[in-house]
């Protein structure tokens, strides 16, 4: 891709995230950007050398499509997000899942999510973990304003809006966790690889 970038395709979000963590540890790239089924390696110091190492990894036992690559330490921190479940689309999601609102909350809090990738806005994390059967479509007409901290679903992704913005995701609730702060050494609370659990706010 261009002069000094590679786009690596994988089977899914978790594999992409694992490969991104491997690339960060083993390759010299200015940017390592996981996507839904890919990892962009941009600004590679040695694109040909990186490609060769990726081919060797792909042909070996540790390619993340087959086996989870050993993850780099701190990215595996578990973040708990205290959440008030009062979202405008709770009933709607319950209808789609064929369960009660209480069961939506139960299922959501029982799921261990993982940040697959970020996009849309700084600190906006796409959390994987929901099964395909629970996929919900986006609103055809996005809301003009979704408040900061909104916890929402789209397809099998769960996301938390770091700042108020327009949005078409289905709203489950809200958290006041500080998701994005450029003055912190790690500005995004939810960076790729981070594990996330939602807990009901007391």
């Amino acid at each position: 891709m261009g002069d000094d970038a590679l786009l690596v395709e994988l089977a899914g979000a978790d594999a992409a995230c694992s490969l991104a963590l491997w690339a960060r540890a083993h390759l010299s790239a200015r940017e390592v950007v996981p996507g839904a089924r890919s990892v962009l390696l941009d600004g590679l110091a040695d694109p040909a050398g990186a490609a060769a190492r990726l081919v060797a990894l792909r042909d070996g036992p540790d390619w993340p499509d087959r086996r989870r690559v050993e993850d780099a330490g701190t990215a595996e921190d578990l973040v708990e997000l205290s959440t008030v479940y009062d979202g405008a689309d709770l009933d709607d999601v319950a209808g789609r899942w064929g369960c009660t609102v209480a069961e939506v909350v139960e299922r959501h809090t029982a799921t261990e999510f993982r940040v697959a990738f970020c996009g849309f806005a700084p600190g906006f994390a796409y959390l994987s973990g929901l099964p395909a059967a629970w996929a919900v479509g986006r609103h055809a007409d996005p809301r003009t304003r979704v408040p900061a901290g909104a916890v929402a679903l789209a397809d099998t992704w769960c996301g938390v809006y770091p700042t108020a913005s327009p949005g078409g995701w289905r709203l489950l609730g809200r958290t006041d966790a500080p998701l994005w702060d450029v003055t912190r050494p790690r500005p995004a609370l939810l960076a790729p690889g981070t594990r996330v659990r939602f807990v009901v706010a007391r």
Binding site: L7, L40, A121, A188
Partner: protein
């Protein structure tokens, strides 16, 4: 010490070489669109290459210097006036404290760069002083009346042997991929055989184009994936666009090729209506 902005013009932003290493968190790179012109302006006034300067758009901008300062204007060719008197373009110019400096409007091109000795010392956010107009990380766009801090002078002004940075002419050279097979073979003939016109809604995010649409092949939905600077993306309209420094970090429309980095200055300086052609590398 500071400068006071008397007229911010159409869009003036603070830029340096951009914000690197945060794309995975959703932060665009930002940075001067015409990187070579910005580097020249900094060199002329004796700044480090990563000093922050002003990037103006079409109309130029004016300010009052709060201290004696050396300045240089590069990029889009424009008139430079200090206290009402003409001053040279793309050369170091010493001005007294209190001087009023007007740069612009651009005669050719779009973006002029105004470097001041010491650089603009706005706060560093995630490693850069650049304004990013997509996610608004970094300082807001410059407004009339703003007072911008200057940093300490780091070097002597250096008249340069090469004071004209030539914006490349000819077609934008494109390297195919990664999603070059998401459009038809005919689409590649159309892309490389047609004249496109720069669209008025082009901005720091991307150069949008009017012209013949490219035929997309039905390959379902593309999962969101990382985007690079200079990416040629084909949205459902079929009209290609070239992503510039404030591009989103990921996108769900196919990127069929990437423009040679050496040709990006051309995109930065292309005016609405200007003709753009593409050629394969």
């Amino acid at each position: 010490m500071t400068i006071t902005v008397l007229d911010a013009g159409l869009l003036t932003t603070v830029q340096d070489r951009g914000r690197h290493g945060y794309a995975h968190l959703g932060v665009p790179r930002a940075g001067a669109l015409d990187a070579a012109a910005a580097a020249l302006a900094n060199r002329l006034v004796g700044n480090r290459p990563d000093a922050a300067l002003l990037e103006t758009t079409m109309t130029g901008a004016s300010f009052r210097a709060g201290r004696a300062v050396t300045l240089a204007v590069t990029g889009a060719d424009c008139g430079v006036r200090v206290d009402g008197r003409a001053a040279p373009f793309a050369e170091p110019v010493s001005v007294r404290a209190g001087a009023v400096v007007v740069a612009g409007p651009a005669r050719r091109g779009v973006r002029s760069y105004l470097a001041l000795s010491g650089g603009l010392a706005v706060p560093v956010v995630l490693g850069s002083r650049s304004t990013d107009t997509l996610a608004w990380v970094g300082p807001p766009a410059v407004r009339t009346g703003d007072v911008l801090p200057l940093g300490p002078v780091t070097g002597a002004a250096a008249p340069s042997d090469v004071t004209v940075v030539r914006v490349p002419v000819g077609p934008l050279r494109v390297r195919r991929g990664p999603r070059d097979d998401w459009v038809s073979a005919r689409a590649w003939e159309v892309l490389t055989g047609s004249a496109y016109a720069v669209s008025p809604d082009s901005d720091r995010v991307g150069m949008r184009l009017a012209g013949p649409a490219l035929e997309r092949l039905d390959r379902g939905e593309l999962a969101s994936e990382g985007i690079v600077l200079g990416a040629v993306q084909v949205p459902p309209s079929g009209l290609p666009l070239v992503f510039l420094h404030d591009h989103p970090v990921t996108g769900g429309y196919p990127v069929i090729g990437v423009v040679d980095p050496a040709d990006l200055a051309r995109c930065a300086q292309a005016r609405p209506g200007d003709e753009i052609r593409f050629a394969l590398r």
